[in-house]
Symmetry: C2
Subunit: 208 residues, 2 copies
DNA sequence: ACGTGTGAATTTCTTCACAGCC
DNA sequence: GGCTGTGAAGAAATTCACACGT
């Protein structure tokens, strides 16, 4: 043990969700795993797995490896996944609809508890018998009343920046943006982009 | 000039699509830009922009900076974006539908030219008056006849691995996977994951 | 004997700082 | 004067290799 409160590099934090994915598969076969098996599964070196995990504590046992349930619990705790997270969906077009219908979120403790759109035809529509789309002008109230810190942003590129600024102004701390636009926001706001075109433009480098 | 054919680190390649995004915005304001402006826009240092670009050639002019159109052309060429790319969509559920309706692909030279699904109810449906969903058993024919190398994979997690293996077997070289599963495939196959849950699990580390 | 945790070594990535050209 | 391209310096990330606990 040595870690007290040293800044953990983001590149390590970013790998932890992958570790969770691997653990959820390996769990089906055994109670324990080890750095070699985890590494092979994920395409990382065994040393890296051990180094990464050692940043947060001593989760393994010499000779045995890692108890899968215990390690999962620890990583969940590190990533603050041991609580439920409320999210608001901003923009209810095609992608927004796909998000509302995606079962993977609530299984993982993420809940879209409200959805807004700016188009009159959308507002009032009920999705999945669960969520009724509200007008975007209600967004401040929604965020503040429910104390929401995460937004899924699926508005058109042309209004993404201004919409994001409003979200931040009303208290949103993290944004998953599907808009193909680089957002300029205060540095304490976390933004993750989900952008298939960027991914495609990346892989084509490797295709003849 | 110094670069002949040295392997370019992937971390640099991965930034190039971002540069394109920035350039497409900056183009509206000026004919030229420079490493400082590009860096500020993207949150990178000016030195890094220059170093990155210098891996591929000498695209700038001292005292002036970079001509935006010229630099865009060069990066497009580096990333093989100066041609049209055909893709096949595998899985036509919610996410698949959103992809078929997303206008951003063809604007960037990426074209979903066929879509397949395994469910009888889906097969034969026409989307957008453009694409008719075909049975997944046609996938080999579709890939080979059209010489497709990119697949968008949006099947359920439970069948993602086996479906991906089939795609590879039939000649697919790159996969954008929306399935929340880590795929194990030959190393010459490029896989990019688009997974909002991973993104969420990453950002929650930074939220109290 | 197995496999972790970790200093040390190595490799990779980023920034510095400046000569040189516009 | 402004800004690139680039060696050299510095920082960060990864891998090595081994002492040590089980």
């Amino acid at each position: 043990m040595s870690n007290s409160r040293q800044e953990i590099p983001d590149i390590i934090v970013a790998r932890l969700p992958r570790y969770l994915r691997a653990l959820s598969v390996l769990r089906k076969k055994s109670q324990t795993t080890n750095s070699k098996e985890l590494g092979d599964f994920l395409g990382y070196s065994a040393a890296q797995i051990r180094k990464d995990l050692s940043q947060f504590g001593e989760f393994g046992k010499q000779g045995t490896g890692y108890n899968i349930d215990f390690l999962t619990e620890q990583i969940n705790s590190i990533l603050n996944l041991d609580k439920e997270w409320k999210m608001v969906l901003v923009g209810c077009g095609n992608i927004g609809h796909a998000i509302l219908n995606y079962p993977g979120f609530s299984h993982n403790g993420f809940h879209v508890i409200a959805a807004v759109d700016s188009s009159k035809e959308m507002v009032g529509k009920k999705i999945n018998n669960l969520i009724t789309i509200r007008d975007i002008s209600d967004i401040e109230e929604i965020i503040k009343e429910n104390n929401i810190s995460i937004a899924m942003l699926t508005v058109p590129a042309s209004v993404a920046q201004e919409t994001a600024e409003k979200l931040v102004q009303f208290g949103i701390k993290a944004i998953i943006s599907y808009a193909p636009v680089i957002l300029t926001l205060p540095h304490n706001i976390r933004v993750e982009y989900i952008d298939p075109v960027i991914s495609l433009q990346h892989i084509t480098y490797y295709l003849s």
